[in-house]
């Protein structure tokens, strides 16, 4: 009997690890060595899976030295496929962890402690994309600081708004593609739709306007949202500093029109730092811009009284024959202005020229006379 019990006890001692391993929760066994991973893991979203839920190649205790890389895609197949096709596919050996952080401490995306929780996401992306050296190496713009100083960045970090656009709002999360890739959310033709996920009303106006229509028609010159607003350093459009810059922004493409605008009163006032004067968008609108030939345009002849009347009181049909783009050099379109310009230039050149000569001659002659007087007196 004693021998019998001993045999059972001995066999139990030999068989126990294997028997215990086959049980549902081997974590205590793992933690006997990997103690430090216990508490973060138990608080993580994956705690119910147990250690071997991810470390599927470990079948015995103790396990061999070389443990296989965890394949997150075994469960997260959709994310893994997307990631494999993205710019980050080969970003690191374990690209999931670059963003999701400590493998044993991953929490739910909705948990404010998550590295990919909206309020934390820019800092997470910024770990790489806020690094100047990294940006230079990969020929990327220094987007982190630009974003943090943008209206989106301020909405997130200063106002704490969860609805504020973060990196993933525009770039996606797992399936981020290069902006040169036509499937990318940030590919030129896709930008209006991407911004439109939040700014839907503006998107509608944009596509109603000439820029949107031309873009849809495949005109590579037509601007999308980012051409005027930039991609990361997006300003609050109600800020004076932004409004003061916008006319020049339009001028990047509309060079000639900007040039003629610059010679007029509106632009002169604006150049002195006064925002309450007509900038391009005041007359042409910002998004639903239409050519003057379109009867719905704010600058169509029939609508000018109303458009100018936004600022000027007592606007009449006669008033709007004023041209905010008058060019004194263009004699065909502006004959009176052209003639006045020539007359004034001639008047200035001849009168000032003659009087300058008169002055110089007088100066010389007076000096000569004074020298003469001195000689005579002495």
């Amino acid at each position: 009997m004693k021998l019998y019990v001993s045999a059972i006890f001995l066999s139990m001692f030999l068989i126990w690890p294997a028997a215990a391993w086959s049980a549902a929760a081997p974590d205590t066994l793992c933690l006997s060595c990997h103690d430090e991973k216990g508490s973060p893991f138990h608080a993580s979203v994956h705690s119910s899976l147990g250690c071997t839920g991810c470390h599927t190649d470990i079948k015995a205790f103790p396990h061999p030295d070389n443990v296989a890389k965890v394949n997150c895609g075994a469960c997260h197949s959709e994310a893994a496929t997307a990631l494999a096709g993205s710019v980050h596919a080969k970003a690191s050996e374990q690209p999931c962890l670059s963003c999701h952080g400590d493998a044993h401490a991953i929490v739910d995306v909705k948990d404010p402690k998550s590295t990919v929780y909206p309020l934390n996401l820019p800092r997470t992306c910024g770990a790489c994309h806020g690094n100047k050296k990294f940006a230079e190496e990969h020929h990327l713009p220094d987007v982190y600081s630009e974003y943090m100083d943008s209206i989106h960045g301020f909405a997130l970090t200063k106002d704490g708004l969860l609805v504020a656009a973060t990196c993933s709002s525009c770039h996606g999360s797992h399936d981020i593609l290069a902006p040169t890739n036509p499937k990318s959310r940030t590919y030129r033709a896709n930008v209006p739709a991407t911004c439109g996920t939040c700014h839907e009303g503006i998107q509608q106006l944009y596509f109603a306007g000439i820029h949107g229509k031309q873009m849809e028609a495949g005109n590579a010159q037509a601007p999308v949202c980012t051409n005027c607003h930039t991609a990361h350093q997006i300003s609050n459009v109600r800020e004076v500093s932004f409004q003061m810059k916008t006319s020049a922004t339009c001028g990047n493409c509309h060079r000639e029109r900007f040039g003629t605008y610059r010679d007029t009163f509106h632009a002169q006032v604006s150049a002195l730092g006064y925002v309450e004067t007509a900038h391009c968008w005041d007359c042409h609108r910002a998004h639903d811009i239409l050519p003057a030939s379109d009867p719905k345009s704010t600058v169509a002849k029939a609508n000018l009284v109303q458009t100018c009347g936004q600022c000027h009181s007592g606007v009449s049909a006669s008033f709007v024959s004023y041209s905010p783009h008058a060019d004194p050099h263009d004699g065909r379109q502006f004959p009176a202005l052209h003639a006045a310009s020539i007359f004034m230039n001639l008047l200035l050149a001849s009168l000032l020229g003659f009087m300058a000569l008169h002055t110089v001659l007088w100066f010389i002659r007076s000096h000569a006379e004074r020298l003469n007087d001195k000689r005579r007196n002495s």
């Binding site: 009163f265 730092g273 007592g314 200035l348 100066f363």
Partner: protein, 282 residues
């Protein structure tokens, strides 16, 4: 020569009245408002220059600039109208027809053309200095330049100020022309006053540092004889010199005149340098 007396008019000498108190006040107001208009108008004309933006910020932005500009414009308009009304009153009511033609008139005549020609000959060492009457040809040019300048700049300025009302009378496209003329005529005025007028009346070797007759109202006997020999001779012949005699200007008036004139010259020279810089860079 009378250079010593010209640079030191307080020296012992007989003084003769040249300008009435009214004329001196009108000119002083013109000086202040013109400087104000130039200082607040030039930044607008050359709005892309760095000094324009700086100046606009210094005085409180564009609205402040426009306020000062309009304020000076209104004062100068009143100044101008007082002068015009005075001329009309003195001719039509007081029948002083000599204001319209003759030696006491600002209207150019044949002698002015002859004087200009003779002066050019004198400049080129080809003849003697012409003998000028009460008003020299360049003084008349100054006067009419300012007169028409004020009319043109004033009308175009008020057209833009009251653009709505203006456009009910004429097409709005005239406002384009108004801005161009306003700016160019103003440049002409600034260039003329700050270079030509300042040289003629202040910086010319015989007048340096300045002729204060327009501020004190009187000139010395030497100045009278040298600058307006024809008028002097005529007055002497008619025995009217005594009637023209004036008290020597008090020292404070001379000091104030010099201070005011020098300040105007300094401001003008600064503005013309800034203008030239912006104009050449344009």
């Amino acid at each position: 020569m009378s250079t010593a007396a010209a640079t030191n008019p307080v020296a012992e000498s007989n003084y003769y009245t040249r300008f009435s108190p009214g004329q001196r006040i009108l000119h002083a107001v013109l000086v202040f408002t013109f400087l104000g208009l130039a200082a607040t108008g030039l930044p607008l004309r050359f709005s892309s220059a760095a000094w324009s933006v700086g100046l606009a910020h210094a005085v409180g932005g564009f609205s402040a600039i426009l306020f000062f500009h309009k304020f000076c414009a209104v004062v100068l308009t009143i100044d101008f109208l007082i002068h015009v009304v005075d001329i009309v009153y003195r001719t039509v009511v007081k029948k002083q027809w000599g204001l319209l033609w003759g030696t006491n008139s600002m209207v150019p005549n044949l002698k002015d053309a002859k004087d200009l020609f003779a002066q050019m000959r004198w400049f080129l060492f080809l003849g003697p200095k012409p003998k000028f009457d009460r008003y020299t040809y360049w003084e008349k040019l100054d006067y009419w330049g300012v007169f028409w300048g004020m009319a043109i700049i004033g009308i175009s300025g008020y057209a833009m100020w009251f653009s709505g009302a203006f456009a009910r009378i004429v097409p709005g496209s005239w406002l384009n022309v108004a801005l161009l003329i306003h700016g160019e005529e103003a440049l002409l005025a600034v260039g003329y006053i700050f270079v030509v007028h300042f040289f003629n009346e202040h910086l010319r070797p015989n007048n340096f540092p300045m002729d204060i007759t327009i501020f004190t109202g009187s000139q010395t006997e030497e100045e009278f004889r040298e600058r307006h020999p024809e008028e002097y001779a005529r007055a002497a012949e008619a025995g009217q010199l005594k009637q023209l005699r004036a008290e020597a200007p008090p020292a404070w008036a001379v000091r104030t005149s010099r201070l005011l004139g020098s300040a105007a010259v300094v401001i003008g020279v600064v503005l013309i340098v800034l203008t030239a810089e912006a104009f050449l860079r344009d």
